[in-house]
């Protein structure tokens, strides 16, 4: 992981906090306590803080994979958020409609339903890219917003609404719940708190499996080879007999399935219904930072997801303990993105040779040439 970028972000973040007259050390102490349970001063339970971090990290791992995989094919999936939302919507709709079914049937149904919905949502940009050359960045942005409005429609006055005046959905059936790792038992005391307060759920295993599948797919299958070949050079891939169109569409379908799964797992494992909290969800955007910071490797993605999960969990404690808005976390996240994208750390190390640095893209990014200029010409397909 590019630790330099993280250090850079925290240093600049400290300057910003300091410039407003607040103490950056107490801010970061709050983040550290809320994220990793280290150095807590207000009686927080470290085990609970770590548990919260893991709960935040779970969807970040799966959506991180959903951004990292298309990166390898030279595709920039900014649509993980929309794909996650349709996944959560499909999961909820199925979980409500068939709420009497037993878990062995209903749970696979809601998870697969979420995957299918996410795959469709990412498949649209995939098909548009492969056929008419529509740029996936723009189409996925549009689909993010369509998903957000669809969510509002469904739970405010729409078919999934709990009742008039509410902005949440009916709960999904018990059979669609993902179990928590610890038993839901108030009598069982673990690290000083009842076991039921720890919300880490078995979706963690699904997320880790997704990361492992990502690595396997990319490095151990011929399809993974095709993805990498298309990402390196569409022209060369075509000469090697790879169908570029098929690879683009399939990659997006798989990525969307991962994002949709993340949304379904979030409903099945944590929330059990759709709420207005999802209107402001940013998991799919955080995933972009996770994929970039994780350098597109499975282990890196998991580590980066834990970092961002810790920042999210820590933000709440920073706000309550140090009185500093949890929005500082977004500032740090943006600084990390700037730093990775511009390779500030590398530039500083080279003594700021402005304007002479080589195209400073992290290795997993597609060459910028692929981003806008190829947006129109559909790749000719050899027959």
């Amino acid at each position: 992981m590019p630790f330099g970028s993280v250090v850079f972000a925290f240093a600049v973040g400290a300057l910003i906090v300091g410039a407003t007259g607040a103490n950056p050390f107490s801010a970061y102490a709050g983040l550290l306590c809320g994220g990793l349970g280290i150095g807590c001063t207000q009686g927080e339970n470290p085990a609970l803080e770590i548990s919260n971090t893991i709960v935040f990290a779970i969807p970040l791992i799966t959506t991180g994979v959903a951004v990292a995989l298309p990166f390898r094919a030279g595709l920039f999936n900014i649509g993980a958020e929309g794909q996650l939302l349709v996944g959560s919507m499909a999961c909820t709709a199925i979980g409500i409609k068939f709420n009497t079914l037993p878990s062995p049937i209903l749970l696979p149904m809601v998870l697969l339903g979420g995957m299918a919905a996410g795959a469709v949502w990412a498949g649209i940009p995939g098909v548009l890219k492969a056929t008419v050359g529509a740029h996936e960045v723009v189409t996925t942005i549009m689909l993010n917003y369509i998903a957000q409005w669809l969510l509002r429609f469904l739970i405010i006055g729409g078919p999934l609404q709990l009742g008039p005046g509410t902005s949440k959905s009916l709960p999904i059936g018990e059979g669609a719940h993902l179990a928590t790792v610890l038993p839901v038992d108030n009598a069982l005391i673990i690290f000083g708190l009842p076991a039921s307060v720890y919300r880490v759920h078995t979706g963690l295993l699904i997320a880790l499996a997704a990361a492992a599948l990502f690595a396997f797919l990319l490095w151990r299958t011929s399809f993974g080879y095709e993805i990498r070949a298309v990402g390196q050079s569409q022209k060369a891939a075509r000469y090697a007999g790879v169908s570029v169109r098929r690879t683009i569409i399939l990659t997006m379908l798989i990525a969307g399935a991962f994002s949709g799964l993340a949304g379904a797992v979030q409903i099945a494992g944590v929330d059990h219904n759709l709420t207005d909290k999802y209107f402001t969800d940013t998991t799919g955007f955080d995933a972009i930072a996770v994929a970039l910071l994780g350098l597109g490797s499975a282990v890196g993605i998991v580590l980066a997801a834990v970092l961002f999960g810790a920042l999210h969990a820590g933000g709440a404690i920073m706000q309550s303990d140090a009185g500093i808005s949890s929005n500082l976390v977004l500032v740090l996240q943006a600084l990390i993105l700037f730093s990775i994208a511009a390779n500030f750390v590398g530039a500083i190390r080279r003594g700021l040779p402005l304007g002479r640095a080589p195209a400073a893209l992290p290795p997993e990014l597609p060459p910028a040439a692929g981003l806008m200029s190829e947006a129109t010409a559909p790749p000719p397909e050899p027959t």
């Binding site: 723009v138 808005s325 929005n327 390779n343 195209a359």
Partner: protein
Amino acid sequence: MSGLEDIFRLLFTANLWQATLAAAVLLLLPALGGVISERSGVVNIAMEGMMLTGAFFAVVADLAWHNAWLATGVAVLAGALMATIHAVVSIQFRADQIVSGIAINIFAAGLTVFLANRIYGLQDVGHVGPTEGLPNIDVGGLDQIPFFGKVLFQQNVVVYMALVLLVLVHVVLFRTRLGLRIRAVGEHPQAADTAGINVYLFRYSAVITSGLLSGLAGAFLAIGVSNTFVPNMTDGRGYIALAAMIFGKWTPLGAFIACLIFGLGQAIYDNNSVIHVSPYLLSMLPYILTLVVLAGLVGRATPPAADGLPYVPGSE
């Protein structure tokens, strides 16, 4: 379909078209910024963040100095400052312009709320007084024309400014040497460089101009349309402006037509008390229409040839 009937009836009210033009201008300003930036070859998806920053600083300055024009100036500069970050990162450091744009938007969302909390505590940001916002101006005489007077001549001062800017950007881009150079830099920077055009200078200027325009839109939103700042108050308008830019095929006039279409959707949405179609479904329309355009069903949307490509002197 009573819902359609209601919309149909609504279409004949001057109020609706007055609101449509105002909503369109809110999108037009960042869309013009996007056109200029991308015509020079720098992909800009950061209008959302630049606009949000402008909105925040407009309110902060107006609350401090009680002067809407001073506040607008601050907002414009704040937008330009965010744009400068995008320019430095993507032109000087040749970072991925999409990542930089996303980072600007996240940065703006976080920084504005963080600063609001530092300045005003954890309660809401205060409200700008009724006489301290950007004024509505009725153009004497013309505003009495039936229907059109209300639509065209009873508007906020920023609406008139935006329409002038629209003509200005169109003329500069397509009728002047300066515009030709901007477009040359966006289509073929190597050739432009060979012809003695300073590629970096043009790209910096274009990106910063997009920040000025987005900052103005932010001021219009915060102290013209609304009278306070709330977190994330731009609510995707910068992205709809991006859609309008593509819809309009990277031309100012095309973008304006798209903004009018999207603005009409917004105005109908704001009148949702008299219609029976879910306003949420209506809100999807701009995005769906843009997908349709991108799918090539309504002609082809072609970006400038070097859009998104960092320029490396001496490269081919």
